[in-house]
Amino acid sequence: MADLRIDLAGIKSPNPFWLASAPPTNSGYQVQRAFEAGWGGAVWKTLGDPILNVSSRFAAVSFNGQRVAGFNNIELITDRPLEVNLQEIYETKKRFPHHAIIASLMVEPKQEKWHEIVKRVEDVGVDGLELNFGCPHGMAERGMGSASGQVPELVEKQTYWVKEAAKTPVIVKLTPNITDITATAEAATRGGADAVSMINTINSLAGVDLDTWNTVPHVAGKGAHGGYCGPAVKPIALNMVAECARNPLINVPISGIGGISNWQDAAEFILMGATGVQVCTAAMHHGFSIVEDMIDGLNNYLDDKGIASVMDLVGRSVSRYSNWGDLDLNYKIVAEINNDVCINCNKCHIACEDTSHQCIDLYSEDGRPMLKVREEDCVGCNLCSIVCPVDGAITMVERKSSIPPMTWNERQTLISSLSK
């Protein structure tokens, strides 16, 4: 049994699975149900000045019949009075003293506003604060959320104001709606953040109704951009986590968020530098009980790998994430087809023929259809193995190169030294 406890910038929780600040953490009732189900922590739905929400808030994207491949929302921060939320946080913390409760906060970019709310939430016993600089809709129009999160100076300044008042660890939640997330992550670090979390949702429009021509979702015939999340955004989030993790100027822990649906996703984020993860869409799709497999699966994975504590897994893949210019130009892999496993759907052939390098031949041997890779033309792109529906039918295998490794950067250096 591996130790799943984490310590993220001083915030301790029994496992790395937190519910992200979102509809699932709207109330004490929900958060307590989540803790009963096994979640290690919860970031309370963002507190701030009271707002009004609209009716019709969510939409999802299905892919080939698979529901909720991506999820989109136009809901704002909490629409419940601050006093009610604070009371429920207090009660929940009392009932679950060892679980992490983090208050997500969003107020106008004014020093006194931040000081006031920090004091009020810390008074009810939260374990940490998360500054919502990421919400892309509704609040941004009022100068909050991603409107401040897209400007590094505002991130730095507001983080600083919070740190002036805060006694608990401060996590800064970043928006992905920016060219380079490391710019705002660095700013948060400069402002004194104890940790960063990412990603918030990505600007999105889920769809257009082909009959009514309304947006999806729509509010009385009108729509507005929302925030996109769910499994579809995982690769975007993972890259942002990895970019921050390998940046020496961002030397604070990371809480990973974005499309995490199971323990495998979580393990990937942890390997890429996240100390813990936050989940929302998967819980909204399936309920709180999904955490059971997350905990169980991660535990079994760690046991299989002989790793005693999940904290020992954090960041183990970061050093493997690099720049294109540092990749070995002389490394060679090719596709190999196992005709005994192949079911002859020919998807590899047509994918290669139409859209890649035309190196998979169809032929027949004793009347049996066969496929073969012409290795000399194969560039090792992986496409065939990606479209292949059967495990083990196509393997990408290494071919020893006769030339020593050389990266683009090394090559450029060599060329310039020769031309001198």
């Binding site: 080939n64 079911i343 759907c345 998807k347 052939h349 047509i350």
Partner: protein, 455 residues
């Protein structure tokens, strides 16, 4: 029987003949269609005698393009709604599905039904009659082959007239396939689609009686013979004229027309033969309320020509199979009604000319099975006199054709469907007949079209 009981009985029998399987729900269809791998050079297409672009029609279901899906199916197969229900899919498309080797094959037949049901429900007009090219084609027989040929010829612009001896078009679909597999509405819809393309179907018109073969040959630029096959031949044993002896084709046919008979209720029935028609006869007898139904076959399960799924279906219906059992005599009572069938046990001997082991009688093994009805299902007779009226060469009633051109010994006359099946010229399935109908139409078009139309 009291009127009330009789009414309940009628309702029960009617229910017994309702279509067995229901159409997929939208959710099922979406889920299943998304499972399709969309193979390149897909084996299912090659396994379909009509070469339906199966991955395409399935993809279109997944994308919500139902009109496109139905069109893709019916373009290749004018009887695609019937075939969705009656094709032995595990021998054809589904049997060829690559997923047989990894998970489980796509339910192609059910998806095809889902798409064609959509076309029926919306009554979409998917095809158009071609511009009249001034040429006339007569088709003898409005079964799957004839209807298929008519649809294609009409799209090319020919004026098509079908001569049909029965009161209704559809052939096997209307009269031969049990309604719990293929309800009349499906066939009726398919006929209607073809009529909408300007095809004239003269029903109750027997060629050779109401119009002569010579008249047809004179009046039309080309003729297609698609008359199928006739009644079940005689067994050649004593007692065949007794009351209670049925021809399987006729027996099934009656279940598709008018009120269902109550004559079989509570009776013991013997079916002679073990082909697909025998299964139809047996399962219809079960559904007509028979107490016990036995299939008697002089060979063994191995030689049986019924499809495996038909055999399984009959067993599930409670039909008993008596292998190596040959009828010798049907026994009647003084009122001329069947009371039993005398049989003899058989054994398999040397292989015959067709490669199958010949059954041989075991001396002194005679025994009697008590039954009140006997259904004969030992093949079908050929319309030899009609074939000869057209002056066509034939082999044992199977019209000789040049397979490359579909032409008979009279180059103006083409033939397709059951009338050319047998003697090694393909396997008799509705879907093969449909393809032959298409082929005959294309060959006629090649022969008759004006040089200007040749690209």
């Amino acid at each position: 029987m009291a009127p009330k009981q009789e009414n309940a009985m009628s309702q029960q029998l009617t229910r017994n003949f309702l279509e067995l399987t229901s159409s997929m729900t939208k959710n099922e269809a979406i889920e299943e269609s998304n499972r399709c791998l969309y193979c390149y050079d897909a084996p299912c297409i090659k396994a379909c005698p009509t070469s339906i672009q199966i991955p395409n029609f399935i993809k279109k279901i997944a994308s919500g393009n139902m009109k496109g899906s139905a069109t893709t199916i019916l373009e290749a197969n004018p009887i695609g709604a019937s075939c969705a229900r009656v094709c032995p899919t595990e021998e054809l498309c589904e049997g060829a599905c690559v997923l047989n080797s990894s998970t489980k094959p796509i339910k192609i037949g059910e998806l095809q039904r889902y798409a064609t049901d959509w076309a029926m429900a919306t009554n979409a007009q998917l095809f158009k009659q071609g511009q009249n090219n001034g040429q006339k084609v007569a088709i003898i027989g409005a079964g799957p082959a004839g209807l298929s040929a008519a649809r294609e010829l009409s799209r090319f612009g020919y004026q098509v007239t079908i001569y049909e001896a029965e009161s209704k078009a559809g052939g096997l679909g209307s009269y031969g396939i049990v309604s719990f597999r293929l309800p009349n509405e499906v066939v009726d819809w398919e006929i209607e689609q073809i009529e909408k393309l300007g095809v004239e179907i003269k029903t109750n018109t027997t060629v050779g009686v109401d119009i002569s073969a010579e008249e047809i040959l004179e009046q039309y630029d080309s003729v297609i013979l698609a008359v199928g096959m006739g009644a079940v031949p005689n067994l050649g044993i004593e007692g065949e004229d007794l009351d209670g002896v049925h021809d399987a084709i006729e027996f099934v046919r009656k279940t598709k027309m008018g009120p269902l008979t109550k004559d079989i209720v509570g009776k013991r029935v013997a079916v002679i033969g073990a082909g697909n028609t025998a299964i139809d006869g047996a399962t219809c007898a079960v559904r007509l309320g028979a107490d016990n139904v036995q299939i008697l076959y002089r060979r063994t399960q191995k030689e049986m020509t019924a499809y495996k799924f038909e055999y399984e279906f009959a067993k599930q219906d409670g039909v008993e199979f008596k292998w190596l059992t040959a009828p010798k005599k049907i026994i009647g009572n003084e009122s001329g009604e069947v009371v039993g069938i005398e049989c003899t046990k058989m054994k398999l001997g040397e292989a015959g000319a067709d490669g199958r082991q010949r059954p041989e009688e075991i001396e002194g093994s005679n025994f009697i099975i008590e039954v009140e009805a006997v259904i004969k299902a030992i093949g079908q007779t050929r319309f030899v006199s009609l074939i000869e009226a057209f002056g066509l060469q034939h082999t044992n009633g199977v019209v000789d054709i040049d397979e490359a051109t579909m032409q008979t010994s009279n180059d103006k006359v083409f033939a397709c469907g059951d009338v050319v099946f047998g003697n090694g010229q393909g396997e008799a399935m509705v879907v093969t007949a449909v393809q032959q109908g298409k082929d005959a139409a294309y060959k006629i078009h090649e022969r008759l079209r004006k040089p200007s139309e040749i690209a």
